[in-house]
Symmetry: C2
Subunit: 636 residues, 2 copies
């Protein structure tokens, strides 16, 4: 069922300014500074298994919960990001840091393979008693992803060995066999890691374990309830019982029966990613179908225009259809990153532009907004409107988002291409040079562009040997009137585009050049009227970028700015901002309060006054002086 | 300084359908049913001073507070409302009920005059130790108003005697003399009652006590802090410390220095009422000036378009300028009722239409909305927007609003007229027959009208004796293009109107008839752009009535209805609704979601579709099937 495979990011060398800058920032600033935070915030100290354990850095909340339960995952995610960095260029300092962590993990690992720093450091007698809330399997998954990335970067497999021993222990503990617990993760993640391990080693039992976790999920009698009773707890005491009980962890019913995106957004997106992976590897049409239904559900009812997911802080997740408040948007960075993972997995199954569209949307907006320009400040919540109080933070009691964005950017080239049987597919644009391997046949692709600031894209192909194959170019949903040429000759884009991909079939030669023009007219975007929060509002897009009004660029308070339907929108290059970005400008209006003579109400409408609106890409907001921001602009 | 005196409601016989219906409902249903609630909810039981006291009906909250602290006030307020009812027509049942209460109050009164059912029943040792939170003086004030009303209705003065003894005790306890506490009420109210008592008896010491409370208020060192320390409490532990500390009770500074309306809205409005009363009785220009400054402040920055006050539930009061959220509006019924009191007092000082305008606005909208059509259900909070969940209740743990609206309606005729030296002033309209006494000269006034449904008003005067005097007719701010005739001859309204009153000076004869036409064109009202919640929204008024969209009258969900700026608005009499009301109809639009093909976002704007909007008067909403409501309608 797997028709396409993504191309490893090491094969894609980013030459365009946009991604070059983000990547360099992550490599040189984000990843090193994150290590410092792991150290200063106490995460690395947890490796020492001190007895007695040091005082909690993150005090328990009213439910007895502390994010220290899942510090292992943060360490694992940092190793993963650092591992990707090392594949760009080796670094003795970082490698020494990781080796030291690995040595401590190995030393900590119990004889039976168990490895969890919280439980070993605080309450080993309680291990495996609360999969629902305590993240043991989630932690294992992230450590495993770190181990894989570090092995791929350095060939050192000590951490991988540690993790495989831990997996053996997990495999013994959980399953449908006699004496086994029929458990599965409260926070999905390990399934993704297990598929990665299977792809690395070909070891089928890792895939089987992932499939077990996915297939067991949500069956009755419910494991989390059985487990709660065994702890002497009433399942009804569950903090998220009021949020549809096990909907919170998408275990309210078996995954194949799920047709509505619910619960904690990151859990959901990780699970769908794993489902798509398993569908591809196992040829499981039912799982694929469930993914498609869930994809259509979330993208048509529960997604922010920025590719953000999960409006509510109370469950870090989904609420009801079309409930997408802007100023209280949660839209966790991790959820957008995970959506990119899921979209990539869907593209392995079907080359449908709807997946690439959302991958691009979430990448350039909801995910990228999570990292500051300086690479050392973060958004956990990506609100679509702010009164100025929403600011980036240098670290977080729950630092999951920080390393999610660094591991994404450090491996971003891996999302650009797929190869299939006689197919090279391009999903994302941005200057790069890629060395693809299409069933053993080498194809060099060189893209020259200033994407996302310009939609003029030049792609030169240099294939090894001869024989026809298809080049499939994603034509983004926003790119109305796209044109293309091959060696200067016009291609009928409309006639040759299906499901969002333009197919050019030919026996490619080394001198072949495709020129693609994706027109980047600034344009308005409207929300379905069922999204009440966005009624009478409009947002602006240009190319893949969603724009917003940030106070620092505008002369009038952002909430008082109005963009009439009739106003033209102009794109303007601003070399003075952030090494050069394109802003949007429009003749807006505001209403004056100065002719009200102190009246609070009157029968005469407010007097409109012209004002120039300046909008900047959403991903780059909150990198200058604090102030209000709005993605959705009043239209009246 | 007092130039005008309101005319007692017993002199004003309501003949118009609108007020006749409301008054009859209050007399026949509201007041009797409220007695039943006093009984069933345990308030009357508190008169028995049972030992041990019965379990609390209203459990203490986290701050140790229960609304049972001020049950006395509810009893007092009911006696006041019932007293007014008896002045319309005597009723042996009600009189027996009140006599029984009075006997119990007399029996309960302590030898030294103290009378507070909570403290006597629960913790007498703590009396007078917490004026800030415990409402002893507030309770006394309401009981006193009840005593006055009952005395005026029946001539029975037992309750008045009880209260005068209690006041003697209070006068001994509080004051600036040696050994006296320099206390004053945490919840202002008694000041109004004391001025009423002074006006009834001419006993100057009652006025002096009111003046003491007002003048002492907010001085440093702060009495509430001294009192807190004496209780062993830290003044910073005060629950409302975070709301600007003593701003909550308007004791943050001496009242004459106050220029900003802050804190608990009902406390504020009662205090301003008393300040205006004292300014009138004492000729205190400084107090009058403070009232004027505060009046201009609240009406130009902190008032709902319905004449509601206090947006926030957290302090039952004011927040910041222009902060007037609609769906979370608190706008307590009591605050609108108290605003009517204050406006009436301001009209004693100056015949300025701005006071009559707000009196009319608050009366026909923010206050009247507090009472259901059936007279037995109430709003405590008068929200301006609801998703359908805001419903009327039959009683409340804090039933202050219930009796505030019944005492207002039972005495409503008293707000129609004032008399001054050779002046008869008309503030409110509605068919009535009034027997005025203008410095000993009798003037009969007969108004024929169908107000507020029609602005065509016929006023026939029949004065005793001869000699010129001024008839001053309020020309409401909304009545653009008002016309008038005297005995069929046109009067130049514009030329003869000052400060909102049309003056007709003549030697009136028995056959003189003034016809006034206040054009009731339905019209739009806009909010000052600084009220962000109402940006891009409009509301509708006709005459004194603010209108709202209620779901039951409209075919499309209320939040999805839009009223274009260009749409005409038509008034239509609807005999089928509530014995006949006038609704407003307009050709609105809605945007369809059915041509979105399941898309969540798109570049094409939503398609507008015509829909007829029907708006009903705000005061009458929530008397039919539950559903969403909005005062402010989308305009885009």
């Amino acid at each position: 069922m797997r028709k396409f495979a993504p191309v490893d990011f090491t094969k894609v060398s980013l030459t365009g300014a946009f991604w070059r800058e983000r990547l360099e920032t992550v490599l040189t600033r984000t990843i090193p500074s994150q290590y410092e935070k792991l150290e200063s915030e106490g995460l690395l100290e947890s490796l020492a298994l001190l007895d007695p354990p040091p005082a909690l850095r993150i005090p328990r909340n009213a439910q007895g919960f502390t994010t220290q339960f899942f510090w292992d995952s943060d360490i694992g995610k940092w190793i993963e990001a650092a591992g990707y960095a090392l594949r760009h260029r080796r670094d003795a300092t970082i490698e020494a840091q990781i080796d030291d962590i690995v040595d401590k993990l190995e030393a900590a690992q119990m004889k039976d393979g168990y490895l969890n720093l919280w439980y070993q450091g605080h309450e080993i007698e309680n291990r495996w008693t609360n999969l629902r809330d305590r993240h043991e399997l989630y932690n294992c998954g992230h450590l495993l992803e770190g181990a894989i990335a570090y092995f791929q970067a350095t060939g050192r497999r000590k951490m991988l060995d540690v993790m495989e021993r831990y997996l053996d222990h997990i495999r013994t503990t959980f399953g449908t066999g006699e004496g086994q617990k029929r458990g599965y993760p409260g926070h999905q993640e390990i399934e993704i890691a297990l598929v990665k391990l299977y792809r690395l080693t070909g070891d089928k039992k890792q895939l089987d374990l992932a499939a077990y976790f996915i297939n067991e999920r949500g069956r009755e009698p419910h494991y989390f309830d059985i487990e709660a009773v065994a702890r002497g707890d009433d399942p009804k005491n569950y903090h998220f019982y009021r949020f549809g009980n096990h909907q919170y962890s998408q275990s309210h019913k078996p995954v194949r029966e799920q047709d509505k995106v619910v619960g904690h957004a990151v859990r959901a997106m990780y699970m769908y990613t794993a489902m798509a992976d398993l569908a591809a590897e196992l040829g499981d049409a039912e799982l694929k179908r469930a993914c498609e239904v869930l994809w259509n559900d979330v993208t048509s009812t529960r997604m922010y225009v920025t590719g953000g997911f999960g409006p509510s802080a109370s469950n870090e997740g989904f609420t009801t259809d079309y409930d997408l408040p802007n100023d209280t948007a949660y839209a966790e960075t991790c959820a957008s990153v995970a959506m990119i993972f899921w979209a990539q997995r869907m593209l392995n199954l079907d080359l449908d532009g709807k997946y690439a569209d959302i991958m691009e949307l979430a990448l350039f907006n909801g995910a990228l907004s999570g990292l500051s320009r300086d690479g050392e400040h973060y958004f956990y919540e990506n609100k679509l409107e702010s009164d100025g109080s929403h600011r980036r933070w240098p670290w977080h009691p729950c630092p999951c988002c920080t390393m999610n964005v660094s591991r994404l950017v450090a491996s971003i080239g891996g999302y650009f291409y797929s190869v299939g049987e006689n197919v090279v597919a391009v999903h994302l644009y941005g200057g790069n040079r890629a060395d693809l391997d299409m069933d053993g046949r080498k194809v060099r692709v060189e893209e020259t562009s200033n994407y996302p600031w310009s939609g003029r894209i030049r792609i030169a192909l240099d294939p090894e040997g001869s024989g026809a194959f298809d080049l499939k170019l994603h034509i983004p949903g926003w790119a109305e009137g796209a044109t293309a040429t091959i060696n200067g000759e016009k291609i009928d884009v409309a006639a040759n585009t299906r499901s969002g991909y333009l197919t050019i079939s030919r026996d490619w030669r080394a001198s072949d050049v495709v020129e693609l023009d994706l027109p980047m007219h600034p344009h308005r975007v409207f929300a379905n009227p069922k999204v009440r929060m966005d009624q009478d509002r409009v947002t602006l897009k240009r190319g893949p970028l969603v724009y917003c009004l940030e106070q620092v660029d505008n002369p009038i308070a952002v909430p008082d700015l109005v963009l009439p339907r009739s106003a033209g929108i102009a794109a303007r290059e601003r070399a003075d901002l952030f090494d050069g970005i394109t802003v949007l400008e429009a003749e807006g209006v505001t209403v004056a309060a100065d002719d009200w003579n102190g009246d609070l109400y009157r029968a005469t409408p407010p007097t409109p006054q012209p004002v120039t609106l300046t909008a900047v890409p959403y991903y780059i907001w909150a990198n200058r002086e604090p102030g209000p921001m709005a993605v959705w602009i009043r239209e009246n």
